[in-house]
Amino acid sequence: MSNEYENKDQGAVTDDERRVAEMLGSLKRVEAPGDFDARVRARIAQGRPSSSNPTWLPQWVRFAVPLALVAAVGGYFAIDRYSRTTVGTTNEIVRSESAQPSPAAQPPAVKTATAANTISPPTTEDENPTVAASRETATGRRQTAPKPGADTDPNGGGSFVEAVRPGKRLLPRGIDPNAPQPGRPGDFDPNAKIAVTEVLTVIGVRANYSGSKWTVESVVDHSAAGDAGIKPGDVIDTINDQKLSEKTAFNGSFTGRSIRVLRGGKPVVIDLIKK
């Protein structure tokens, strides 16, 4: 039988393929049972196909429902974990604020710690944040208990962001904190040379070098030189007994001790140390 149609439209096939086709075509056929028609009519009489997939339920629902359930459960735990973390952080802050006693009502921290150790029964920190904070003080974990009269913020002070910010540098009054700051003392090179003009400027003298001599033009009021009595017109002869030239330089560790000037041709020695 298979050869009949094999030659009709198959075209070129190998001998192996032809033998396989003939073998399959020679298989005995099965027939429907005798009650086939009756069973078909009975199923039709039931009114609808006995589909394993109800038509009212879309196919994608079978996959979407389990996925939605997994997502819901996973989302619940994720939100729960996140909320616990957030509440914990908030509790920490509230506990810190509660732990700060008011200046009038709270005794010093040491006394509170003693009371907590001797009187208070064991309790959780959530139940009594003040006691918990006091216990922390007693164990030395909290070292900055406010003293009576200290400047405390009634609205609660501090924040996490403020706490982790690097400390501000304390600068003398009048120093611009935004200006480039000088390095630390160790950053200076003690072997560096200091020109004579810089030394004179530091002690408050503005001098002009002409005629192979330094002549004072002006003196800053209330400066070291002004208070020592140096006056305009003085010719600076030596500083720390060192003769001055145009390019005289001092060591980095220079300390002004004395200065000798010629006033009206007469030498006058002025002691800078006294001033």
Partner: protein, 210 residues
């Protein structure tokens, strides 16, 4: 696995759908649409054996094949208003039967996957448990033929779906290449390629019989 009513291969009246029968199919469909129950009974009588045989070779399970063949006719009946006569009715019913059979196979796979005990049970219908029988060990000719048919049936059932469907339609049901391509919704070249590849796989599995 059930082996149903094995009969001789002389049921030629249902082997192929010639153009005259197709037009007759369409007339029967129209009569069914107009409420003629006898017309639908004639359709069932015309296609019940080819469909049962096709599904039996596909699933290698007679009871399941009969059940799905009946289900095919039930679906045809309830969707008869949506049937378009631009396609041959035989293509239409084979396509429905193929989809039902593929769904059934996937349902079986899911059952095997979900069944914990299934991991330790031998499944006669398993596609991977094909073991050809040595024909030399069978002395009786009839017994040898029956055993050969069962071996071939197992080999067919062990084929991947994409090769099994066109092989059965073409070499067992005798459908033309064009009709097989229409039933599968594939191009003609792809269909021929799959049939050739399926025959090659069967040749490897059944080399004892060549």
């Amino acid at each position: 696995m059930a082996h149903g009513n094995i009969v001789s291969t002389d049921a030629e009246e249902n082997q192929r759908t010639v153009p005259e029968e197709r037009s007759s199919d369409h007339q029967l469909i129209e009569a069914t649409k107009n409420g003629d129950e006898n017309a639908f009974a004639e359709i069932v009588a015309r296609y019940r054996n080819p469909l049962t045989n096709y599904l039996y070779r596909f699933l290698n399970d007679y009871e399941e094949a009969v059940d799905l063949a009946q289900e095919t006719f039930v679906r045809v009946y309830f969707a008869i208003d949506r049937y378009h006569t631009q396609y041959a009715f035989s293509t239409y019913v084979y396509r429905i039967a193929t989809n039902l059979a593929i769904s059934e196979l996937r349902r079986r796979k899911r059952r095997r996957l979900l069944s914990l005990t299934g991991l330790f049970q031998s499944d006669e219908d398993s596609e991977v448990e094909f073991q050809p029988t040595d024909p030399a060990a069978l002395q009786d000719d009839q017994l040898a033929d029956d055993e050969r048919d069962r071996t071939i049936a197992k080999a067919i059932a062990a084929l991947p779906e994409k090769y099994r469907v066109p092989i059965i339609l073409r070499d067992i049901e005798g459908r033309s290449y064009d009709e097989v391509a229409e039933i599968m919704g594939l191009g003609l070249g792809t269909t021929k390629s799959r049939i050739s590849r399926g025959r090659g796989l069967l040749r490897e599995k059944l080399e004892h019989y060549f």
